[in-house]
């Protein structure tokens, strides 16, 4: 670094000041982050590590500190629980169900929320009301929404059957949850319902940004509204659609409440997703190590999706 001699001291001082400032910032950052960080370490990181140790240990080890960290149990650690899952036909089918569930939720969610976002975006008067109302499913406790959807799709007293019959669309009541495909559809619809507010808000944000950028140009060209939608809106919205879609895949891996209430995973495991089977192994059949191993595999899948999300989000930013 070559500078004019006279300027030297002040340059040095500035560097020194800067590094002192850096250090103080770092120290302060530590202080600012410490409370949150300690909490996350205690409630999240340590338990996650304990669960990992348990997933390696043989069946029958109770999840207490004294047993999990007993030398004789630690020495028997291995991949047996992970190997076992390769031969578990329900686990393998639950992977497929999880994928179908995620895809279904994402496609359905994007379609409905895209329609909602585009329509709400075109409304001038009454828009504030619509925006407020669209938020409602998000605020409903998932447990209540599960039971509520149970009342909707009930084969005997459900409102869906009632409405469809009154509209003349069916003449006998349908058993929506009776076979695997119908049941899977029902739980997808019920779960998607809860996420539609968020997806709609995301797409609306995307639309508004798009409008600021390019919308007017096209409408001047005399394109009709459908052409405008397919040629301008959709391509322009693609980054946001991708982001929302990947987020929806991530959310779909966590589904539990709705399936638990509506189908319990049946019929014939047709709605058993990975999260549910891991829970059942751990809590119903008391194979805690095995349940932990399954939960870790699910976490791995979620992790892959998260990486995908970061990639998509970064591309959307550019």
């Amino acid at each position: 670094m070559k500078t004019v001699p006279g300027a030297r001291p002040s340059g040095r001082r500035r560097t020194r000041e800067k590094s002192a400032h850096r250090r103080s910032e770092r120290r302060h950052a530590l202080l600012f982050l410490a409370p949150a960080g300690l909490l996350l370490i205690a409630v999240f990181l340590l338990p996650t590590l304990v669960t990992f140790v348990i997933s390696l240990e043989p069946e029958g080890v109770n999840p207490t500190p004294s047993e999990v960290f007993a030398p004789e149990n630690l020495s028997q650690s291995g991949l047996q629980n992970y190997e076992r899952s390769l031969n578990d036909s329900v686990w393998l089918s639950s992977m497929r169900t999880t994928v179908i569930f995620g895809a279904g939720m994402t496609v359905l969610g994007l379609l409905v929320s895209l329609a909602l976002a585009v329509l709400i975006n075109r409304v001038a008067r009454g828009r504030a009301v619509l925006l407020a109302l669209v938020l409602v499913p998000w605020a409903v406790p998932p447990v209540v929404s599960g039971t509520t959807w149970g009342l909707v799709v009930h084969g005997d007293i459900g409102t869906l059957n009632g409405v469809l019959e009154a509209a003349g669309l069916i003449d006998t009541y349908q058993v929506w949850l009776g076979e695997p495909l119908g049941a899977l559809t029902a739980v997808i619809v019920a779960t998607t319902w809860r996420w539609i507010p968020l997806m709609t808000l995301l797409l609306l944000a995307g639309l508004q940004q798009l409008e600021r950028e390019s919308y007017e140009a096209a409408s001047v060209d005399g394109a009709n509204s459908w052409q405008q939608f397919t040629h301008v809106t959709l391509p322009g919205l693609r980054p946001m659609l991708l982001t929302t879609g990947v987020l929806s895949l991530i959310w779909s891996t966590k589904v539990f409440d709705e399936i638990w209430v509506l189908t319990g995973g049946g019929p014939a495991h047709g709605t058993t997703v990975m999260n549910l089977w891991a829970y059942q192994q751990a809590f119903e059949f008391l194979r805690f190590g095995y349940g932990a191993a399954l939960a870790y595999q699910l976490a791995l899948a979620t992790g892959v999706l998260a990486v995908l999300y970061f990639l998509v989000a970064r591309r959307a930013d550019q």
Partner: protein, 465 residues
């Protein structure tokens, strides 16, 4: 009968009450005073306000109860105290997740409770893990070896057995019985009293099918069904009843020392039982097809209580529900009997149990005092007079007050004279789930009953290693 909670020194110490008690409406209404007082007393309590914890364990007994038994057991606590000078601290567990709660506590080797409630089928599982105290000698001392004083003899105690020892006792009795709507039968030109004697006649399942077919009809655009049942999680219970009707069992548990026994649900009677279910649904088409979705919360009662379903086979308490005009449109028309018969009539018994954890903080002896009182004749009589949960002693069913409370008393007693075992094993929860899957595969006609059951049997054997 009611008492002022604030003046009762015992109940002052009792855990924070969640009110509650028995589920049925009239009981709730009758308990309103009790509840109002306790409710007011509680408004100010913090949830940690339950004194106790470790320090009082030496004086108080910690008893966990099902939330739907709480009120009854609270009243019992006074009786217990007067005989032992110990107070009782209650904790109500919700049936839904009570197994998780109990297992979570017991597996760490330290039970917070002296007495725990169980569904009877959980007893072998918990016993096999060494969590429950062996009660064999105490039961023998109390009751001798004479189980004839109990409804159904030894049957109600059977699910408490593990490797020939006893680990839990029933606080009530009862299995599924047949309920039907006499008005509907009459309307379709059927003898409304005939089902009452089906249980005595082998082969009356054919007659049941004939009736059910007549009862399946459409009127004014509304579909009526001959039969409806909970075939989601509880399909295995119906299957268990039917397999016994055809002369079989889900598991061969004849060797008392082998708690797991041999899988037999895929043999002849099992295949016949499942074929019978498939035929009802598909060949005869007399079952409400939504049955495969009915379970705990969304169950069979709407159709039956609305007068659109001819027969159901379920727990005895539904009888009282059907008689309440506020709840049902078929009050006065409901009738009950033991289930119809194939080779024999049959039922599946899963009573409410109580057991003592091996690590009971107050010691097994003190806990046993509570259990003994809970099973004593006066307490059982009191329970019977409320009409919700059937008492365990035969003699009580002769008493007018109990008979009045239990319109279906004779039916309960009679139904337990037929095969009523549930084939519980330590891995019951797991094989029941496997069996449920097989049943739903057969009901959706993806597999034949034989195929589905064979595969399930293989899976059970494989997971037993």
């Amino acid at each position: 009968m009611r008492f002022d909670r604030s003046r009762d020194p015992l109940l002052e110490r009792v855990s924070q009450g969640e009110g509650g008690g028995l589920t049925r409406r009239e009981l709730l209404r009758r308990s309103a005073l009790f509840s109002a007082v306790s409710g007011l007393a509680l408004m100010g309590c913090s949830p940690q306000g339950q004194e106790g914890g470790g320090s009082q364990n030496s004086r108080n007994l910690n008893v966990a109860v099902f939330s739907h038994f709480e009120e009854l057991d609270r009243r019992l606590a006074r009786r217990y105290k007067s005989s032992t000078e110990k107070g009782v601290k209650f904790e109500a567990l919700v049936a839904d997740n009570h197994r998780d709660k109990i297992i979570g506590s017991l597996r760490a080797g330290s039970s917070p409770w002296d007495v725990i409630p169980l569904w009877s089928f959980l007893t072998p599982e918990m016993a096999s893990r060494g969590w429950l105290a062996d009660l064999t000698d105490r039961i023998e001392e109390e009751f001798g070896s004479d189980f004839e004083q109990f409804v159904g003899g030894d049957a109600a105690f059977q699910n408490g057995l593990y490797e020939g020892r006893r680990y839990g006792v029933p606080v009530d009795v009862g299995g599924t019985i047949l309920h039907w709507n006499k008005d509907l039968l009459e309307k379709r030109g059927l003898d409304p009293e005939a089902p009452a004697s089906w249980h005595e006649t082998a082969g009356s399942n054919e007659e049941f099918v004939r009736y059910a077919k007549e009862l399946t009809f459409k009127e004014g655009g509304v579909q009526h069904w001959g039969f409806s049942d909970n075939w989601r999680e509880q399909a295995a219970i119906t299957f268990n009843t039917f397999i016994q009707m055809f002369g079989g069992q889900c598991m061969d548990l004849s060797d008392e020392q082998d708690a797991y026994g041999e899988v037999t649900f895929h043999e002849g009677p099992g295949v016949e039982a499942l074929q019978f279910m498939v035929d009802l649904l598909h060949t005869h088409q007399v079952v409400d097809p939504a049955s495969v979705t009915y379970d705990w919360v969304f169950d069979i009662t709407p159709g039956y209580l609305d007068g659109r379903v001819g027969f159901i086979s379920t727990w005895p308490f539904v009888a009282a529900l059907a008689e309440d005009p506020e709840q049902s449109k078929i009050a006065g028309a409901a009738a009950h009997a033991p289930n119809f018969a194939a080779v024999t009539s049959a039922t599946s018994q899963d009573p409410h149990y109580i057991a003592i954890p091996e690590s009971a903080p107050g010691g097994v002896d003190a806990a046993w005092e509570y259990v003994r009182t809970r099973l004593s004749v006066p307490v059982q009589r009191e329970q019977g007079e409320e009409g919700a949960w059937a008492p365990i002693y035969k003699d009580l069913y002769q008493e007018p007050a109990v008979r009045e409370a239990f319109i279906q008393a004779d039916v309960i007693v009679k139904s337990l004279e037929y095969p009523s075992s549930l084939s519980v094993t330590p891995d019951y929860m797991e094989w029941r789930s496997t069996l449920n899957t097989a049943i739903s595969q057969a009901l959706s006609q993806d597999k034949t009953p034989q195929e589905a059951l064979n595969e399930a049997a293989e899976q059970v054997k494989a997971s037993r290693g």
